[in-house]
Structures are given as structure tokens and as C-alpha cells.
Symmetry: C2
Subunit: 234 residues, 2 copies
């Protein structure tokens, strides 16, 4: 029996793949209210907490799931109007959207320590662009949006594409998200999921959804980076 040399078991450090809404920017509740308004506009009234629990899913799945639950259908034309109505209602709320505590510092700290990271969001390029400005990120920040993949979360495509974009192995990657759809997508992609409470899910919902660790927000994750294997000099 030979003892393995340290070099034989050396692995790449973790890379981070971040969800955007509820994870880096404080926009979930504004999206919820915007969906409430958009659905009301086409005559669909759904309890608001049920909208909240489906934010972060692919928009198509979101609408399908809610209509099925309501036992109703909408014609093609009305369905096609929904994304626009939501975007309009969200724009009216945008003024109150802010970065989450610690988001900028967390991303900067990772970069300073050469830890690779990317953003992967079920949102569209346009709203991702606004978030990039809000977080003071450069134009070339690796960011995979809904329009870049076939299926959004809870499918794994967004995180797989994000890992590929920054040249890391998905199995060395940590997905950070606020919703159970991020965690399901992380598991399907074979990444490790970490949950943040900042999107308004309860701690146990995230744990039962597959989170290995749960932190409050980006600031809390930053304060505990050691726990997820990021080594940095004091």
C-alpha cells in the first residue's frame, strides 16, 4: 500500500456560479408584484405567495404551472402578451431595486483571489444588463441569460453554459441561489448548491431543496467563504 502524494489528490478550488435575482440583487419581491399585475391584466388572479414560490423558474414553466393549478387556460395571443406585461410592470418597480448587501464586495473578493465565477439567470439579457450596471460589473462579466440556452431553470443548461463559459468543471462548481429552482438545476448539473435567504424562501425549504449550506445574503456568504473551501490569507 502506498500513501498518495498530496499532488495526486490535488483538485481545482471551487468556482462560483451565481443566480442573479434574489441572490445578487434585491429584486424578487418587485418581480412578484409585477407578475401579480401582469396576470391581473389578463384576468388571472392568483394568490401572491404562489407567484413568489415560482420566481426564478423558466417563464414558460412558471405560467404553465400556475394556470394548471388554477385549472384554467389562456389563448396563445394572451400568453404571448404576458412577458411584455410583466416587463412593463417590473420597470415601474425598478426604482426600488438595489444590490443585496455584500454582493459587490463578494464578487470583487473572489476576483482578487483568482476564484473563477459567473452569473447564470433565467432572466433576459436586458434586465441582466441593468443588474450588471447596478453591481458595477464590467461589460465582459461572464453572464449567461435565458436567451442563450434552450431551457431555463430548473433545467441545468444555464449553469452548464456558465461553467463552460469560464472554463471550469461543473463538478468543481458551487451554485449560489435563492430558490429551490436554482438548487434543482444545480443538482441536475452535478454542481454543489448553496442557498441564500435573501429571496424570501425559508431556510428549511432551501435545505430540503438540496442546499448544502444556507446563508442570509451575499455579505453572510462572504463572511463564511472559508466554510465552502475558499482559501485566502488573513
Amino acid at each position: 500500500m502506498t500513501t498518495p502524494e498530496p499532488s495526486d489528490v490535488e483538485q481545482a478550488g471551487p468556482a462560483f456560479l451565481f443566480d442573479l435575482d434574489g441572490t445578487l440583487i434585491d429584486s424578487v419581491y418587485q418581480h412578484v408584484i409585477a407578475w401579480r399585475a401582469a396576470l391581473q391584466e389578463v384576468g388571472v388572479s392568483l394568490p401572491v405567495w404562489k407567484l413568489h414560490r415560482r420566481i426564478g423558474m423558466s417563464g414558460g414553466l412558471f405560467v404553465n404551472a400556475l394556470l394548471r393549478e388554477l385549472g384554467t387556460t389562456l389563448d396563445e395571443e394572451t400568453l404571448a402578451r404576458l412577458p411584455g406585461l410583466h416587463a412593463e410592470a417590473y420597470a415601474a418597480q425598478l426604482e426600488s431595486v438595489r444590490p443585496l448587501p455584500g454582493a459587490e464586495t463578494l464578487l470583487r473578493t473572489l476576483s482578487e483571489h483568482d476564484v473563477p465565477w459567473a452569473i447564470a439567470t433565467s432572466g433576459l439579457e436586458r434586465s441582466a444588463g441593468l443588474a450588471r450596471e447596478m453591481l458595477n460589473l464590467s461589460e465582459d462579466t461572464p453572464m449567461i441569460t435565458r436567451d442563450r440556452v434552450r431551457y431555463a431553470k430548473p433545467d441545468p443548461d444555464l449553469f452548464l453554459a456558465a461553467a463552460a463559459a469560464i472554463g471550469v468543471d461543473i463538478t468543481d462548481s458551487i451554485v449560489v441561489g435563492d430558490s429551490v429552482w436554482d438548487l434543482m438545476a444545480a443538482r441536475r448539473a452535478r454542481a454543489i448548491g448553496i442557498g441564500l435567504l435573501s429571496g424570501g424562501y425559508g431556510r428549511e425549504e432551501l435545505i430540503y431543496g438540496g442546499a448544502f449550506r444556507v446563508y442570509e445574503d451575499p455579505a453572510d456568504l462572504l463572511a463564511h467563504l472559508d466554510e465552502v473551501g475558499v482559501r485566502r490569507p488573513l
Copy 2:
């Protein structure tokens, strides 16, 4: 040894004490967004999920807790402006507030079966009046509002006053609420707490907060009234 006669162990059936926002009407997210706007107006920026988790508390405790967490203070004059700013911002959202599924039917069904019930809310008489109209309740519906007691939730006063108003023993009463503040107040009042998911808390948060049962919304509680001891002919 004597076997007790059924009449010796006879107890009154349960009475129900309902919270209002998030329990009977679908207004929690609108209150959250309104608090976000009111605090922003006085220069305080707090992550929205932290506001959500404190809705249903006494307004005074709510503001104190948030400012302490933020490590900031506000002068008396600014503090005094907050309730008005919140009321104004909530009024702008009111158009999208609806009764929760099953709320009216649940209350009517209880009345039809002579099960006593009352409403106890940390909100003020004015917004409780609007909710009463929305639920098609008569003017004389037993409803205890914030202005009728010394301390709101999580103190037990509101539920104690509600039980007294309808002449039931608080220890025979079931408190139905959507927040951990309802459940804490229920426990302090010696009532049994039941949680509803319709205010956006997670199931386990409510269980850990002291809920003996958790249902989705008033419609789901109505479908399971037998589980909490309401006997009614099929």
C-alpha cells in the same frame, strides 16, 4: 375505579381566532412593498425579505427591530412619519389586494355550524374596515384591531381580547395565522396555533414557530376542518 361518563369529559368545541393580513386577505406582499417604499422615503434601505419576515408584528417593534439590525437610528419626527408613509404606499397597492381563496366560505361555514370566531389583527381599524368590506362581513363582525389593545403581536393581547369579545375560553381557541408572530402570540395566550402558507412563510418556519398544523390557505383549512375538531354533518 369508575369510568367517567361522557358528560364529565365534555368540553366546548373549538373557537377560531383569525389573523387578517396573509390569513384571510392576500395583502402581505403589498404591505412588504409599501414598507420598502416608506423606509426608502426616509433614507433607510433594507433588504426586502427582512421586511417580509417582520410583517404582522406590532408596527413599533417592526421599526425598532429593523433599525437595530441596520445599526441606525431615526429622530422622533421621522419615526412618527413612518406609519403615514406606509399607509399611503399601501393605499397605492390596495387595488391588487383580494380575499384569499376560501376565506369567505370558511367564515360562513363556521357561522353556519355555530362555531364561534373572531378576527384579531395588528393592523388599524381603517384597513381592517376595508378588509371587512372585501370579505363581505357585516359591521358587527367581532374584530379586534391594534388600537384596541396595549400591545400588538407577538404579545398575546389581541387574541385574548378577541376571545373575550366572543365569550370563549382562550384555551379552547384555535389561532389561525400566517406568521411566526401570530404563533408566538397564540402560545403566549395559551391558544393552539395553526399556520397558513398564504403569507409566504415556509412550512417549517411555521412548524418551528409553534404551529400544530399547517395548511395552504383558508380553502385548504376549510377542506380539513375535521382535523382540528370541527364536527359537521356531511
